[in-house]
Amino acid sequence: MTLSNLLSRTVSKVGSRSMFTASKPDTVRPNWLRVGLSFGTAALLWGLLFKQHSTDVNEYKVRNGLE
């Protein structure tokens, strides 16, 4: 008995279906939740970046006595 034979016997036949193989990728109907989350996260990151930058500029001005 080869090892692969033994292994295939021990795998449960009831098992579970993986989410990744259960549905084919649908190119016609976009997953709007995922699209919304992506754009939302991107907008959040840009906002964070601009806020951090303005904080940094103010901090620099304060520490060097320019304001």
């Binding site: 992506s38 754009f39 620099y60």
Partner: protein, 110 residues
């Protein structure tokens, strides 16, 4: 941020458009396009939300990397100048000679 200590805040912060941001944003965008290509999708038109998200992540990381880079190089420069000021005999200033003193007299052979 956690990357840089408090003294780094006295340095001028990098601009929003900086070298590392541009490069990493481009890397993120090309990652999304490569993913499209591997999945046999049109590279530019499909998954715009992915392209936007990946390039944004790259841009964001690039900004903080630029800040860290500025701090590290400033620290190195400061330490170097401190060392030079503490050991002046190790760095003698050479006297400047004019070209008239250095060059040999000109005897033209025509």
């Amino acid at each position: 941020m956690g990357l840089v200590p408090d003294e780094a805040k006295a340095l001028p912060p990098p601009a929003i458009v900086n070298r590392n941001s541009v490069w990493l944003g481009f890397v993120g965008w090309s990652t999304a396009m490569l993913h499209n290509a591997f999945c046999h999708r049109p590279p530019l038109k499909s998954g715009v939300h992915r392209q936007v998200l990946f390039s944004t992540i790259g841009w964001f990381l690039g900004y903080h990397i630029s800040k860290y880079e500025n701090y590290i190089y400033s620290k190195l420069d400061r330490d170097m100048y401190q060392y030079i000021s503490l050991h002046p005999d190790a760095f003698p200033r050479s006297e400047k000679k004019t070209l008239a003193e250095v060059t040999e007299p000109f005897h033209p052979i025509r």
